[in-house]
């Protein structure tokens, strides 16, 4: 019992530090990639190739004054960054990052907690993130924050259903909610190592998942809640110092979490030939993150009514059609 707690604690520590480091370097990746796509150079001065830039940013944010404006609802104001940050980190508790291995006679699974309702848990956690944004907008005495919060909640209502429905196809085919089992189902059976990945069986579901995930994490082109050009900073206009950095880390942690879940559900998780499982997992997460950044550098922001229209009139019917089609196919093929 004690050793299981110890093993889990060590794994939690490793995953947490890996996630936070990845968050920091996602900002570096984003700045570099977007810069080069716009013929700029990005961070260059802190360390070789600007590699220490995330560290410099962290130090700068930590030493800034924590400015609390007048007329804020203090409890909610202090709670909002935490409410945004914690669920983002909690996503990684059920994501299998490697296969199990035996070490000093202990069987160590490659996941912190192999929850049998893992998918449900993840979707609960990703949906909780919007509370941080809404509370931040509600507690701030600024109309921009309020607008950002309202937009976020409206966007969330438009996308949440399609987001949930986009993966129902996998659940119907796989007949399980456990992420470990879903990964095991996608193991290679022949030399075509991606033949069993769910992206092959559910291409439409994959597209829907990506679209809704980007909207869910408030990233460009669906970054209406923070829309710099219209709403100053959106929901985090009134935040500074560490509170702001918590929102910032939370955004990137959400991106990473959604990328990790997408890699697990659609791209076969840690499955892959030749390379170690962890490396395959990281490659897939990186591909997702690159897609995020690539999309941000390519497309402008949706207009508010366009977003609602797109969510309800396009994504929602497509998600239902995908679910129905998968169900009919599973029944007819007699699996």
């Amino acid at each position: 019992m004690l050793e299981m707690i110890l093993i889990t604690a060590v794994k939690v520590f490793m995953v947490l530090s890996a996630v936070l480091t990845a968050c920091a370097y996602s900002t570096y990746l984003e700045r570099k990639v977007v810069a080069h796509m716009q013929h700029r150079v990005g961070p260059l001065y802190a360390g070789p190739y600007g590699l220490l830039q995330p560290l410099a940013d962290a130090v700068k944010l930590a030493f800034k004054e924590d400015l609390v404006p007048d007329n804020v609802e203090r409890v909610t104001y202090a709670l909002a960054p935490v409410a945004s940050f914690v669920p983002a980190i909690l996503i990684f508790a059920v994501v299998p990052f490697s296969n199990g291995f035996t070490w000093f006679g202990y069987d160590i699974p490659g996941v912190i907690s192999d929850l049998n309702i893992g998918v449900l848990y993840i979707f609960a956690m990703t949906s909780l993130g919007v509370y941080g944004i809404v509370l931040a907008g509600w507690s701030s005495p600024s109309k921009y924050s309020m607008m950002g919060a309202i937009r976020s909640s409206a966007q969330m209502i438009s996308y949440e259903i399609s987001y949930g429905l986009s993966i129902i196809g996998i659940l119907i085919i796989g007949n399980t909610l456990s992420l470990t089992e879903i990964v095991a189902q996608q193991a290679a059976e022949s030399w075509v190592f991606f033949g069993n990945w769910y992206i092959v069986k559910q291409p439409l579901g994959f597209l829907l998942y990506i679209t809704c995930a980007i909207a869910e994490t408030n990233r460009a082109p669906f970054d209406l809640p923070e829309a710099e050009s219209e709403l100053v900073g959106g929901y985090h206009t009134e935040y500074s110092s560490m509170r702001f950095s918590m929102f910032f880390i939370a955004e990137y942690a959400y991106m990473l979490g959604v990328a990790a879940v997408g890699a697990t559900l659609f791209l076969g998780g840690w499955n892959g030939p030749f390379l170690p499982p962890v490396i395959w997992f990281l490659i897939k997460v990186f591909l997702f993150m690159f897609l995020y950044i690539w999309l941000r550098a390519t497309f402008p922001r949706f207009r508010y009514d366009q977003l609602m229209q797109f969510g309800w009139k396009v994504l929602f019917p497509l998600a239902i059609a995908n679910t129905m089609g998968t169900a009919v196919w599973v029944v007819l093929s007699g699996q």
């Binding site: 796509m37 013929h39 690539w294 497509l318």
Partner: protein, 168 residues
């Protein structure tokens, strides 16, 4: 229904086109200049900080005739003459006020002795207004000059008047 097919068409046809454009530009050379470390070469006719030219033997070309000060539309040039031991005119004081100077280059055009030129240097920020008044010492090129003169100087040798060598 129409909207759904339009959106799907965009995803299949239009979006890859956009992605291709940004991906193509990812590998192009950035246009950013790493400025304080590397500097852009200035245009040949760029009008930057003034410098006062010398003859090949090291004497100053400026004879303090005052034509540059007369030509200066911003009234930025101040000078006081003196006599050398050979009896020639030279400038005792020669000052240009950068805060007045508009870098038009009229002084360069007016100069009959090919003494003043506008150079290539453009970094002259200072933390004190007095530092913006350049004296002769700031502008004279060093005597055995390290680099070749940028502007073409036609008359390289000094005409000496009133000495036996000149009349011979």
């Amino acid at each position: 229904m129409k909207e759904i097919f339009k959106a799907l068409g965009n995803v299949v046809i239009k979006m890859p086109q956009g992605f291709y454009v940004t991906f193509k530009h990812l590998f192009k050379k950035p246009v950013t200049l790493d400025y304080p470390r590397k500097k852009k070469p200035m245009a040949p006719r760029y009008r930057g900080k003034h410098y006062l030219e010398r003859y090949d033997d090291g004497t100053e070309r400026c004879v303090c005739c005052g034509l540059c000060a007369a030509a200066c539309p911003a009234d930025a040039i101040y000078m006081e003459p003196e006599e050398t031991e050979k009896g020639e005119r030279k400038a005792r004081v020669y000052e240009i006020n950068l805060l007045r100077c508009i870098f038009c280059g009229f002084c360069e055009e007016a100069c009959p002795e090919e003494a003043i030129f506008l150079g290539q240097e453009y970094e002259f920020s200072a933390d004190d207004r007095n530092k913006f008044i350049w004296t002769k010492e700031d502008m004279l090129v060093p005597h055995p000059r390290k680099d070749n003169p940028f502007k073409k100087i036609l008359r390289r040798v000094r005409k000496v008047y009133g000495t036996p060598e000149a009349t011979r």
